[in-house]
């Protein structure tokens, strides 16, 4: 169900996609005068190398996991084996898992141009990173590679949008299984279990969130009941479905109530609809991303502490639009080819929250929903 074909081997990302992504990276490195870029973050490493690696939940401390050198365009990767590694990354550029800093230093030092590199970009930092980089690349200044990569990755190429569409489709399929299990007495945890089973049976084993269903709080704006609380009539239960297929994230959010939304929630639903229409209206190429925060203001709705829009792609994607970072939002523009998870959340004391999220691609003249069964029907 997941991909159009059943995947029984670990294979690198498609050659054409890999080549196009690399070209984008090399171009940006050239423009920024970066000789060597070190990616520790999986989304960046995947974009550069095109190699699927073991999915692990949670953050990882920064370490050199992937490196691209501009002059020769060569890529180095931390991988003890060559399964899933394309031919354009030769064996001598694969470096085994190590727990020893000296071994990391040794392979970095051996990179072509290490001794003369003037500018090395890293997409993360640990307190020890500068000293490691300075030892390996003695002539280099260390600059911000995360900004560079986030800028490169923000516009999705058609093949990337197709990949996100596939992920959205599998997320919808898996969400349907959780919705089918929905009812009084169920718990958020058990609905999560139903989602996970359907997702993996569809061939995808990598969720982006593992709290798929949660009872919204009636007395706090952004809070939830404990995961084992049985769902009762009148509870507004939010669903958050997200997964990665072939590295690309597809996400959507919904809200259900046992027996349908109660009459008391009619006004809240109306408010949600108005907010959603304003958000979609704001999704125009060339608009400042603050337009999405303005849509909340215009609707008289306080945004949740999570982003009202986050880029969808390999992960950590721009735009990143959240009420806490208004200036950051103002500096970002919505552009054709961006894909976002757009969130509308309204809440009323005594009632709970209505949460909806749709994957949206910004097009040349507006926005297109990537979900096949959107919450707000046109």
């Amino acid at each position: 169900m997941g991909a159009d074909v059943t995947i029984t081997d670990v294979i690198p990302d498609n050659a054409e996609l890999r080549a196009a992504r690399r070209e984008n990276v090399l171009e940006a490195m050239e423009a920024a005068g970066v000789d060597i870029l070190i990616a520790g973050r999986e989304p960046n490493a995947r974009y550069v190398a095109g190699v699927p690696r073991l999915w692990i939940n949670g953050s990882r401390p920064f370490g050199p996991g992937c490196l691209i050198e501009r002059a020769a365009g060569s890529i180095h990767l931390v991988s003890t084996w060559d399964e899933g590694v394309p031919d354009d990354i030769p064996h001598e550029n694969l470096h085994g898992i190590t727990f020893n800093r000296a071994n990391t230093l040794a392979w970095l030092t051996g990179v072509e141009g290490a001794a003369t590199a003037k500018t090395v970009a890293t997409d993360g930092l640990m307190p020890s990173t500068l000293s490691l980089i300075r030892q390996a690349f003695p002539s280099a200044e260390v600059v911000d590679g995360e900004q560079l990569m986030a800028r490169v990755r923000r516009i999705k190429m058609p093949q990337e949008i197709r990949a996100i569409r596939t992920s959205v489709r599998i997320a919808e399929h898996s969400l349907a299984a959780a919705e089918a299990a929905f009812g009084a007495g169920m718990t958020g945890r058990r609905l999560t279990a139903a989602f996970m089973e359907a997702m993996a049976d569809a061939g995808v084993t990598t969720p982006t969130t593992q709290d798929v269903a949660w009872i919204t709080s009636r007395d706090r704006h952004w809070a939830q009941a404990a995961r084992d609380t049985p769902i009762a009539v009148g509870d507004l239960v939010a669903f958050d479905a997200g997964l990665m297929a072939d590295g690309y994230v597809g996400e959507l959010g919904r809200t259900l109530a046992v027996g349908g939304l109660p009459p008391s929630a009619r006004k809240l639903r109306q408010q949600w609809d108005e907010l959603w229409d304003r958000l979609m209206e704001a999704c125009r190429p060339g608009a400042a991303a603050t337009a999405l925060l303005d849509a909340y203001d215009a609707s008289g709705v306080a945004p949740p502490p999570v982003p009202v829009a986050r880029g969808l792609g390999l992960g950590n994607d721009l735009p990143f639009v959240t009420g806490a970072l208004r200036r950051t939002a103002a500096a970002q523009q919505l552009e054709a080819g961006m894909v976002i998870a757009l969130t509308a959340y309204v809440w009323e004391e005594g009632l709970g929250g209505l949460y909806g999220q749709e994957p949206v691609v910004i097009t040349a003249d507006g926005a297109e929903l990537l979900s096949t069964n959107p919450l707000r029907k046109a």
């Binding site: 949670g58 084996w81 139903a194 993996a200 061939g203 986050r310 806490a324």
Partner: protein, 403 residues
């Protein structure tokens, strides 16, 4: 084997666990003269605050990560988070210790976080941080004498080495949940089943049984008979772990299983060898027997006060003089808030490290020797034990079926 009983409570007291952990962090801070530590690493935040959220996958972890601040003069930690609070966290941390998100991956996020931090500790305070970011570097804050921040990672590494009684209770519960999942998977194991379908069954059961999150894409690796039949490796040895796919299992496949979950922020670990649709043959039984004798020889020298090298020496001797573990991994590793943490026993940190590292009571060790007979495949399982003064105690009694 008798399960550890002496020091492990039947049920974890989560409030006490959080207090004990924050206390251990503050003790390590005091030794280093620190006024505050700022923590970004997901599991470090869990350790210091007791906050549980469905740890996000790498795709959103950097832009949306919670941040913890622990102060030398406050028993309660501060949490900066975009995540939804639940009743348990509200009961443990007062509202003035729970703040909105700190987006330290953005310059504006750093600018809004710093005044809040300085309200808590004052600008001249000695602050250490576990992870850094380019925006923090641009803000030129927390810079220590070496031109970089003081590493708070060491503080957490030190604090988390010795498990509190409630952490052990959580680990045992996490292992129980994991094994409930595994029992269902083993019941489904048959020719024609896909690797991803085993994952489906596993995920279904662990969430139903109370897991917070699954921590890695479960490994059901079909082993080759010889190294040459597997992928090329940098070491010339076996590749492990390789990713699961929709590959269908066939009768006689030898599977090396490796996975883990998190329960209340404490990780479990599970490793076994299974055979699809067949009973083990004589060669395979012999491999299991040899594996068990290596494990027993290693456990015979495992106790508080033993050095890592005592374990590697015993394992190597029991294997006829060659190391019974994979060169890119280790004979054993610690387990706690991360699925592999210190102490690493037999890793490429080197023999000098192993000869100087002393095990202490309260550490948890996962021992994972490997038997490999090139041309005839091999055997690998994992055993989770608690180090005690007199030796060790098992934290699980899950069987080695079909062996």
């Amino acid at each position: 084997m008798e399960l550890a009983t002496g020091v492990v409570p039947a049920k974890p007291d989560l409030g006490r666990m959080r207090r004990d952990r924050t206390g251990r962090v503050r003790e390590a801070m005091r030794e280093q003269g620190l006024d505050a530590v700022v923590l970004l690493g997901n599991t470090n935040v869990v350790y210091a605050t007791g906050a549980i959220w469905p740890l996000s996958d790498a795709s959103r972890t950097n832009f949306e990560q919670p941040v913890a601040v622990v102060l030398a003069d406050d028993e309660l930690p501060h949490l900066f988070s975009p995540n939804r609070a639940d009743a348990r966290m509200q009961a443990d941390l007062p509202d003035d210790h729970v703040h909105g998100p700190a987006h330290l991956d953005f310059d504006e996020g750093v600018e809004t976080f710093l005044p809040q931090l300085y309200d808590l500790v004052g600008e001249g305070a000695a602050v250490a941080i576990d992870e850094w970011s380019h925006p923090l570097r641009r803000a030129n804050v927390f810079i220590g004498p070496k031109g970089a921040p003081i590493d708070a990672g060491h503080i957490i590494s030190k604090a988390k080495l010795i498990k509190t009684p409630d952490e052990l209770a959580c680990m045992r519960e996490g292992l129980r949940i994991t094994e409930e999942g595994i029992r269902d998977v083993q019941a489904r194991l048959a020719p024609g089943v896909k690797q991803t379908e085993l994952t489906a069954t596993f995920l279904r059961t662990i969430f139903d049984a109370g897991a917070d999150v699954n921590i890695l894409d479960p490994i059901w690796q079909v082993m080759p008979n010889s190294i040459a039949e597997g992928p090329w490796t940098t070491t010339g040895d076996l590749a492990l772990p390789l990713l699961s796919t929709e590959r269908e299992l066939v009768e006689g496949d030898v599977l090396w299983v490796d996975l883990g979950i998190s329960y209340e922020g404490v990780h479990s670990d599970f490793g076994r060898t299974w055979i699809v649709g067949r009973e083990p043959n004589d060669v395979q039984r012999d491999q299991f027997d040899r594996w068990r004798s290596i494990l027993e020889a290693t456990l015979a020298v495992t106790r508080a006060g033993a050095k890592n090298s005592d374990l590697t020496t015993a394992a190597t001797a029991a294997n006829g003089g060659s190391k019974p573990w994979l060169p890119h991994f280790y004979l054993g590793h610690g387990l706690g808030i991360d699925s592999a943490e210190m102490p690493f026993v037999g890793s490429d940190i080197g023999e000098q490290f192993d000869a100087s590292y002393v095990l202490e009571a309260g550490m948890v060790l996962v021992l994972e020797p490997v038997i490999w007979d090139d041309g005839q495949c091999g055997y690998r399982s994992e055993e989770v034990v608690l180090i005690t003064e007199g030796g060790w105690e098992p934290l699980t009694d899950y069987p080695y079926d079909p062996f």
